[in-house]
Symmetry: C2
Subunit: 123 residues, 2 copies
DNA sequence: TCGAGTGTACTGTGTATAATAGTACACACA
DNA sequence: TGTGTGTACTATTATACACAGTACACTCGA
C-alpha cells in the first residue's frame, strides 16, 4: 500500500481512501478480509491506533464490517440509498476545487477529460 | 461576503477563494482595490491577522499586488505561464476527490454535468 | 510637517486535530 | 487456555488555526 504524503491528507484518511479505491477497482471484494489493525500498522509503518481510526471511519460509512475478536471484512456493496448527504458534501467540495481550477485558466474541456480518464482507468 | 463555515475550510482560505471567484466572475477587475486589512476584518468579523494571511497568500500567488502604506490591488491577469505546478496539484486533488465520488456510485456523466454547470454559471 | 490610514511583523494564548506510545479489556476460535 | 482480534482509554508531542495586542515603516492628503 504505502501511504505517507499524497496530498497532505492525514494518514487515516489516506487509508480510508485506499480501501475505497481498491473496492472500486475490484481488488477488494465483498467478504474479503482486511489485514488486522496490528498487521496493517506494521505494513504501513503506522501506529495501530491510526489504523483503528481508519477502520472505525470505514465502518461508520458502511464500507466494512467488524466482528469483535475476529476481523474486519468488506461489506456487500450497499452503495444504494442513503448516501445523498455524502454525495452533496462531495459535490460541494468539488465545486470549491473547481473555482480554483477555473482561476488557473483550465478550460472545462480539460477538466472533463480528466474525469473521463479517471473513470476509464478502472473496472 | 460573509465567510464562516462553507466546507470547513480555514477562514483565510475561504477568503482567498472568494477573491479568486470574484475575479473570475468579473466582480473584481485588474486595478480594483481590495478593502484594507482592517476594514475587511471588520466586515467579515475576522481578526486583521487572518485577513492579512489571506492577502499574503494571494500576493504569493500573484493574484493581488501590495503597496506598503497604500493598499492592495487586483493584478493584471497574468494567468499565463508558470502555474503548471498549481494546475498539477489541483488536478491531483480533484482525482483524489473523484475516488470518493466514484465509490459513492456517482456516474461520470453526473460529474461532468456538475462541471459544465459550474463553468456556465459565470462570465 | 502632521496625522490618519496602509500593510507588515512580532509575541503570546487558546483550541482543535493528527499521530504517536502504552496499557488494558472483551471477544472469537482452535 | 492461549493467541489473535477489535476496541477503549490516557498521555504526550507536534502542528495549524484563529484570536489579542502591540509596534513599525510606509503613503498621502490636510
Amino acid at each position: 500500500m504505502q501511504l505517507r504524503d499524497e496530498s497532505s491528507l492525514p494518514y487515516y484518511e489516506q487509508l480510508v481512501l485506499r480501501v475505497k479505491q481498491q473496492i472500486v477497482q475490484g481488488i477488494l471484494q465483498p467478504g474479503d478480509r482486511l489485514p488486522s489493525v496490528r498487521d496493517m500498522a506494521r505494513q504501513e509503518q503506522l501506529n495501530p491506533n491510526t489504523v483503528s481510526k481508519a477502520y472505525k471511519q470505514l465502518e461508520t460509512q458502511q464500507v466494512i464490517m467488524t466482528i469483535r475478536g475476529k476481523g474486519t471484512y468488506v461489506r456487500d456493496t450497499t452503495t444504494s440509498g442513503n448516501n445523498t448527504a455524502q454525495i452533496t458534501a462531495s459535490k460541494r467540495r468539488l465545486l470549491t476545487l473547481l473555482t480554483e481550477i477555473r482561476y488557473l485558466g483550465v478550460p472545462a474541456s480539460d477538466v472533463i477529460a480528466w474525469i473521463k480518464t479517471a473513470y476509464e482507468e478502472e473496472d
